[in-house]
């Protein structure tokens, strides 16, 4: 029988090991799997490479994971945000590495990783410092830069609804990087606002087919990062 549902966030992240590459969904707080990230802080795996669009706000979620010195390197497009305190501080001290990737290239590299495409060419970043040292190739008289697919050991993703096969649907712009990240990890771990019976999601509207998902944990009322930041909360609390 196929049953991807696990009982706790601790069980969901129990296999994440030191040195793992971990993708984390979200665009700011929208789609950020905050309960899974906090479980990863509890687990304590270190030397992680984290792939995520941002570096978190305040002292919760990704920012707390970084503050807890579990992250060796960030691969992201926008490490500077309102209320982003932790990453800038460590970065200025040279205590965390940064690979800066244009947002669309980041999304496409993750998709490529999930789709078995080792590399592709894109017009984005040509003639800029972010293309330095990369292969440039001309197609139809226009220069393109070669970028590599990215794969991860784990992806942590937040969605709205799931079933026991791991089929997922998302909520509005909280969808963002979730669907591509689900495809690109050996083990994709999802926190879902609700879990429904098989058939409870219309097969025409499934966004992430269950084949891409390994574990699902139900978190009916996820914390709102911005509220925690306003209240100046810190994790671990």
């Amino acid at each position: 029988m196929i049953n991807k549902i696990v009982k706790s966030t601790a069980e969901a992240v129990a296999d994440i090991f030191d040195g793992a590459v971990v993708m984390i969904s979200g665009f700011g707080e929208a789609g950020s799997p905050i309960e899974l990230i906090h479980a990863l802080i509890d687990r304590g795996a270190k030397n992680l490479t984290v792939v995520s669009n941002n570096t978190g706000s305040g002292h919760v979620g990704i920012a707390a994971l970084i503050e807890n010195k579990q992250v060796k390197k960030m691969i992201c497009s926008f490490p500077r945000t309102t209320n982003s305190i932790v990453f800038p501080e460590l970065y200025k001290k040279g205590e965390i590495e940064l690979e800066l990737v244009p947002q669309g290239t980041l999304a496409e590299r993750i998709r490529a990783g999930g789709a078995g495409i080792p590399a592709f060419y894109t017009p984005t970043s040509v003639n800029t410092p972010l293309a330095e040292g990369k292969e440039i190739r001309v197609f139809n008289d226009q220069p393109f830069v070669m970028e590599y697919g990215i794969r991860a050991d784990f992806s942590l993703v937040k969605c709205k609804t799931a079933d026991r096969y791991g089929n997922l649907i998302y909520n509005k712009t909280a969808r963002n990087f979730g669907p591509v990240m689900c495809t690109a990890a050996e083990t994709t771990i999802v926190q879902a606002g609700e879990i429904v019976e098989l058939g409870g999601i219309d097969p025409e509207t499934v966004v992430t087919p269950g084949i891409f998902v390994k574990k699902v944990v139900e978190i009916p009322n996820p914390a709102e990062e911005s509220k925690l930041v306003k209240e100046n909360r810190r994790y671990p609390w």
């Binding site: 196929i2 999930g114 079933d163 089929n167 495809t183 058939g199 097969p203 499934v206 087919p209 891409f212």
Partner: protein, 217 residues
């Protein structure tokens, strides 16, 4: 090569059953056109297997009842099928993300020839003037984690289909994991092509005699 006409070997259903027995619970499986399509009917009770069809359906169910066919709900062989609860539909690029990205566990497909190195030829006899058609076969063998080839041991003309080197154009090189024929089950290992099981009445000597590639036991 002398063919022993008294050996009946396994029939198509028995071959499909042998394959089905090797499909573990909880796997994602793509079944090719022909004998592979029979496999789903023989998966042992208690195993939950999810079938992928590359034209955009995960969770393919059996053929519909007569009169309930939907020409827009078909499998890769363009036959009408059904969708199980928990199924989902997607477009072709997403479907081949599943295949190429190594998300599908097992693919069962037919073969024209398999070499002793696990090379597969199953899309073209390379005859001049023939219409070449490849479909998703090359994507499947390049991307699916485990490839089961299911085929008669000999051609209709009595020629070995398990050969030293394929003479037909390849579908993929070194891709087959196990061959299921009417005479035997053969596993590819680092040390060569090993006989796992033989049909009633088949001896290793006989099997080697009707097999061009070298066998081990």
């Amino acid at each position: 090569m002398v063919i022993n006409e008294s050996i009946k070997g396994w029939d198509r259903n028995q071959m499909a059953q042998k394959v089905a027995f090797d499909i573990p619970d909880g796997t994602y499986v793509n079944l090719g056109i022909g004998i592979p399509e029979l496999v789903a009917g023989f998966v042992p009770a208690g195993r939950e297997v999810i079938y992928h069809t590359e034209n955009g359906l995960l969770g393919m169910g059996p053929a519909p009842e007569a009169g309930k066919e939907d020409p827009e709900l078909i499998n890769a062989g363009k036959k009408c099928v059904t969708a199980i609860p928990g199924a989902c539909f997607f477009h072709h690029a997403d479907s081949f993300t599943m295949i190429r990205g190594r998300h599908i566990d097992i693919c069962v497909l037919g073969a024209l020839q398999v070499s002793g190195e696990g090379d597969l030829a199953n899309w073209s006899t390379g005859e001049p003037g023939a219409i070449p058609a490849v479909g998703g076969a090359m994507d499947l063998v390049a991307g699916v984690k485990t490839i089961f080839a299911i085929t008669q041991h000999l051609t209709k003309e009595g020629e070995p289909k398990i050969v030293k080197e394929c003479t037909y154009p390849l579908t993929g090189k070194g891709v087959v994991n196990t061959i299921y024929t009417d005479l035997a089950i053969l596993d590819f290992t680092d040390k060569g092509l090993f006989v796992r099981e033989m049909a009633p009445g088949v001896t290793f000597e006989y099997l080697q005699q009707v097999t061009d590639a070298t066998l081990y036991q």
